[in-house]
């Protein structure tokens, strides 16, 4: 029986509102349903972990919430704005102005320094290079990379590269941060430290984070843990609840 991860507390402000989302890939006999009617609310200041086995639909849900994939049915509102009704270029602008992304493989530009990589979202918004790099340097310093601003990605460890990616995601002050397996390419200790810094620097009362993860060691960072399987949410845990 699918669960709904919606919230009804009157003192919380909903940032992400998802209702009845379905998504499938392929056609005819090769059609695969990945999301089968997902309801989810995320409130401001919250860190929500999306967990589940491979193929459960968590990354697809993240892509749909981020406006990177279109849902077949259902509605998604982020801060009251319906994502489904936006044109592709408006979606791109919406992502630019409101969302931050952290990817499993970091996806840093290999020939740019840490500072330049972290400044990319500001440069995309049209901020001049000098102030953009200065803002990025501030963010990198907050994440403990003040000494590594001029290093290119190949000279950084995996943990450092992921922190540069986090700086890149946070530098534009997004309302919603979407992280796809941010610790999957890191060893346990490094992954833990990276999430600690992400929580310390990224958590704000007017921002929410959705983190897709397999890593049970990072569950402690989530305010809620949403378990998915077969394209539906089948359990929601609040921080401190007993593990299933």
């Amino acid at each position: 029986m699918p669960h709904s991860a919606s919230l009804h507390d009157s003192d919380t402000q909903t940032l992400v509102h998802v209702r009845g989302i379905t998504k499938s890939f392929g056609e005819g006999e090769t059609r695969i349903s990945v999301l089968n009617g997902v309801d989810l609310d995320v409130v401001m200041g919250e860190i929500l972990l999306l967990v589940g086995p491979s193929g459960s639909g968590k990354t697809t849900l993240l892509s749909v919430i981020g406006g990177i994939l279109d849902a077949d049915e259902g509605e998604i509102h982020i801060e009251g704005q319906s994502i489904a009704n936006l044109s592709p270029s408006a979606k791109t602008r919406f992502r630019r102005d409101n969302l931050g992304f952290v990817f499993q493989q970091y996806n840093l530009l290999p020939t740019l320094t840490a500072g330049e990589n972290a400044a990319v979202p500001l440069l995309i918004r049209g901020v001049p290079k000098k102030p953009a790099i200065a803002q990025a340097a501030d963010m990198l310093t907050k994440l403990g990379l003040g000494e590594r601003i001029h290093a290119i990605p190949s000279r950084l460890s995996g943990g450092e590269q992921q922190r540069v990616a986090i700086a890149r995601a946070l530098v534009g002050e997004p309302r919603l941060l979407l992280c796809d397996e941010p610790t999957a390419s890191l060893d346990g200790d490094t992954g833990h430290k990276v999430l600690e810094q992400l929580q310390r620097v990224g958590r704000q009362s007017d921002r929410a984070m959705i983190i897709v993860t397999h890593d049970t060691r990072v569950f402690e960072f989530g305010d809620r843990i949403v378990h998915m399987d077969d394209g539906v949410i089948h359990m929601v845990q609040r921080h401190g609840d007993k593990a299933p």
């Binding site: 990354t59 993240l62 892509s63 981020g66 990177i68 994939l69 270029s89 791109t92 602008r93 992502r95 630019r96 102005d97 969302l99 992304f101 990817f103 499993q104 493989q105 996806n107 840093l108 530009l109 290999p110 020939t111 740019l112 330049e116 990319v120 979202p121 440069l123 995309i124 918004r125 290079k129 290119i152 890149r168 796809d180």
Partner: protein
């Protein structure tokens, strides 16, 4: 994002150098071959440009300047009678044999000028006095003739040699453009040129004509053709007629055209493939940029900036190398090398085409790229 795009380009050193090498090679090959081709075309009509008169009258069926179809001497007076002609003078042009001091023979292109006016004489005189052509046995040699007839130590002003077993005395050494066949030029007066040549019924090669003020060379050429039934061409039209004939009958156009096309295709293949590889290898990064909020137009501008930047650098180096080649290998007119601004503009446009097409392949890939690629491992 411009600085980011350039840093992405210059930072990938291997691909940047590969791109640069391809575009430089392409530019150099097209400019070098184009310049040699155009130099050869200029040589092919040097018989016209060296004489430098507005209208040429000859047999109406002539194909090119080196193909002489002699006219009767009366043609000069017939042309003079056409209204609009300020002056008309005879010109002899033909290949003869000069005997060298060692007993060998050398072909020469003998040019006989009107003795009274010396109209059509070379404008650059290196040694001696061209006006002395009027004294008996006098001839003027171009530098190629000096070289072929014994070199500068043997062939000087005052040297006597033989043309068709008759004495010729050098009174001037001149500088003119070489001919397509690279046969050296020897200048003398019209009557003396006739005396050097074997007897023939008709020996007049061309009538050189100047229009009166207010009549264009084109109009006068038409009028002469209409009233005399002779062939009349402006110098420019005759030059193009000669170039067309050379292109049609020598295969030189196909030859150089193939090389230029090869340069274009090689440049496009290297640039296109390298750019495509560059895009494919950075696909996830481009996907990340799209996810972050860069629209396709922004990425396309980045690709175009990268492409045109490396293109312009490659163009500069390529033109520089080709010019260096022209200045060294073509020193002293040894090689028909003529680098003209229309050629440079044409090559620049071709290079922009190469860059544009190469970019378009990559941009097409990026336009179809789904940012969701960043979530696939």
């Amino acid at each position: 994002m411009n600085s980011i795009a350039l840093k992405m380009l210059f930072g990938d050193r291997a691909k940047y150098l590969m791109l640069l090498a391809g575009l430089t090679f392409s530019t150099m090959l097209i400019v070098q071959q184009g310049s040699i081709f155009w130099g050869l075309m200029m040589w092919s009509q040097s018989g016209i440009s060296n004489i430098n008169v507005p209208v040429w009258v000859t047999d109406p069926h002539i194909n090119q300047v080196e193909e002489v179809k002699p006219l009767a001497d009366t043609a000069v007076n017939i042309v003079r009678s056409v209204p609009g002609v300020e002056w008309a003078v005879p010109l002899y042009k033909g290949v003869q044999r000069a005997r060298l001091a060692d007993g060998n023979f050398q072909q020469i292109s003998l040019v006989g000028l009107d003795a009274a006016t010396l109209l059509g004489r070379p404008s650059v005189v290196i040694a001696g006095d061209i006006q002395n052509l009027r004294i008996p046995e006098a001839v003027a040699l171009d530098q190629e003739a000096v070289k072929r007839l014994g070199g500068p130590t043997r062939m000087q002003v005052g040297t006597v040699f033989e043309i068709n077993d008759q004495r010729a005395r050098v009174v001037a050494i001149v500088d003119v453009q070489k001919s397509f066949q690279n046969i050296p030029f020897v200048y003398t007066t019209y009557q003396r040129a006739l005396s050097y040549t074997p007897p023939e019924r008709r020996k007049l090669s061309f009538v050189l004509v100047n229009p009166v003020e207010g009549v264009t060379p084109e109009a006068l050429a038409k009028r002469i053709e209409h009233e005399t039934e002779l062939g009349a061409f402006t110098a420019e039209a005759f030059g193009w007629k000669t170039i067309s004939w050379v292109l049609e009958h020598t295969g030189i156009g196909v030859n150089f055209g193939t090389t230029v096309l090869l340069g274009f295709l090689v440049g496009m293949a290297i640039a296109g493939q390298t750019f495509y590889l560059f895009t494919v290898e950075n696909l996830k990064q481009f996907g990340a940029l799209k996810a972050i909020g860069a629209h396709t137009g922004m990425l396309a501008r980045m690709i175009l900036l990268q492409s045109f930047t490396v293109g312009i650098i490659g163009y500069g180096i390529g033109v520089g190398l080709a010019t260096f080649f022209g200045l060294t290998a073509g020193k002293g007119g040894a090689l028909p090398y003529m680098e003209t601004w229309p050629l440079l503009v044409g090559v620049f446009i071709a290079l922009l085409g190469i860059c544009g097409i190469s970019s378009a392949i990559s941009i097409r890939k990026l336009a179809k790229l789904e940012p969701a690629i960043v979530f696939r491992n």
